[in-house]
């Protein structure tokens, strides 16, 4: 069984092998469903020159906003980056290269990357800045652009429950980009709220099968809320 035991006890073990210059995927939508402890540990390690693939860039001082503070990110693929003043400054001064990508295209690029599909055609972005320098083809009378898939050296994701074999279940909208990223990392590290023994999770309700997951670490999360709205 030991070959299938994915649980590690420390962030050093969880991120063993991570280095400057690598491409990283980071799960989450805004601050919802982000692997907080893994992000913090990359910040503590101080590695830089990173290419990041993440829907958003955190906020000032939390999430990927931390990595911006230390100028750890060279380039980022994201769909929406409007919550972060430092991000704006670094983008305007050219210190940070930004590849703005439509959210559905970003999700599909990652899904395709994990599924061994090198590229696909989509109608999203046809005739816009997104289509610049991309191959265009017509299928049944409609125009489509070719988008290349994405993979990463490390995928840092967050789930709700895991078993020790790396099977994962997500909770509510904290799922978002995490399942696709789990499939697209050469090494996928899942930071989770609870770890149980194999057999305790119903196989009918596994969201991410353990084959995609290399390491699992248990953590407690701050779960900061960006916009606290009530009725």
């Amino acid at each position: 069984m030991s070959g299938f035991h994915k649980v590690v006890q420390t962030y050093q073990e969880a991120l063993a092998g991570i280095q400057s210059g690598m491409t990283l995927m980071i799960g989450g939508f805004g601050l919802c469903g982000i692997p907080e402890g893994l992000i913090k540990h990359v910040y503590d390690l101080g590695i830089n020159d990173l290419t990041c693939i993440s829907n958003n860039a955190g906020v000032d001082g939390f999430g990927l906003g931390l990595w911006l503070e230390k100028r750890q990110i060279k380039k980022i693929y994201a769909s929406y980056v409007g919550e972060n003043a430092l991000f704006e400054k670094l983008m305007m001064t050219g210190e940070l290269e930004v590849e703005l990508t439509p959210q559905g295209t970003l999700a599909e690029k990652i899904r395709a990357g994990g599924a061994g599909i090198p590229a696909f055609f989509t109608a999203t972005g046809v005739g816009t800045l997104v289509a610049k320098d991309k191959e265009e083809r017509e299928f049944e009378g409609r125009r489509y652009i070719m988008e290349k898939s994405l993979t990463a050296d490390f995928a840092l994701i967050r789930a709700w429950k895991a078993d020790t074999m790396g099977n994962l279940i997500y909770r509510d909208t904290a799922r978002n980009f995490n399942p696709m990223m789990a499939t697209a990392g050469k090494i996928t590290v899942a930071e989770v709220e609870e770890i149980v023994e194999p057999g305790e999770l119903d196989p009918n309700f596994i969201h991410t099968p353990g084959i995609y997951v290399n390491r699992v670490i248990k953590a407690t999360f701050e779960k900061r809320i960006e916009k606290r709205t009530t009725r």
Partner: protein, 218 residues
């Protein structure tokens, strides 16, 4: 009288059909949820991975793992489902969402839309807007007819970077309800007590309007 933001939302809500799956953008579109007609049930899709979005939570119900695409805390209705971002955009790009309502900076008489970027100012990104305009079966743009400086936002051609090309067929502004076809804005209904001449004077794009154009009813 030009319509208020709430009235624009009320008029769009009249388009909702029982059994529709809908996606509402940020701003005026979000208000549409407040005016769903009696006897009509709709399921709201939030592109971060939720079908069946409910109202904002009570203080006691706040759940940091449950937000909408605007990153606000929300609740779910009975029959809701959670899914990944890839699944969410399969719904959107695969044409499964019945109606999308979204805001815009500009719309052209060819049905082009610009809604995500003002060059030289902060660039926040397109989020899911390009996917939504490329994929939804029916799209309604909700926006002010003119900018703060009084310039028409219904134009012969968009001046800002586009979100989508030739994809918009319906626009509701504070002045009227327009259908875009054959390279023109056709005035379908006008806001109460707003004249066709007034609308013509405030529309830079080609406008087709009859003097007998009906007023909106609420």
């Amino acid at each position: 009288m030009a319509l208020s933001r709430e009235q624009i939302a009320m008029r769009i809500a009249q388009e909702l059909k029982d059994g529709d799956y809908i996606n509402l953008g940020i701003g005026i579109p979000t208000l549409v949820a407040n005016y769903v007609p009696q006897g009509v049930q709709v399921m709201m899709q939030s592109e971060n991975g939720l079908l069946g979005m409910g109202p904002y939570p009570l203080e006691s119900e706040i759940n940091p793992d449950l937000i909408n695409a605007g990153k606000e805390t929300v609740t779910v209705v009975k029959g809701a489902a959670f899914f990944s971002s890839a699944e969410s955009f399969a719904m959107i790009r695969g044409g499964h969402v019945d109606l999308t309502v979204l805001g815009a900076f500009e719309v052209s008489e060819q049905g082009d839309i610009a809604s995500w970027m003002v060059p030289g100012k902060m660039i926040k990104g397109m989020g899911g807007a390009m996917d939504l305009v490329a994929g939804a079966r029916k799209i309604i743009v909700a926006m002010a007819h003119t900018s703060k400086t009084g310039e028409s936002k219904l134009l012969p051609q968009c001046t800002l970077p586009l979100t989508g090309v030739g994809c918009i067929k319906r626009v509701v502004t504070d002045l009227g309800y327009f259908e875009i076809k054959d390279g023109a804005f056709y005035l379908i209904e006008r806001a109460p007590d707003v004249s066709v001449d007034y609308i013509r004077a405030h529309t830079a794009g080609k406008l087709v309007a009859s003097d007998g154009c009906p007023e909106m009813k609420f």
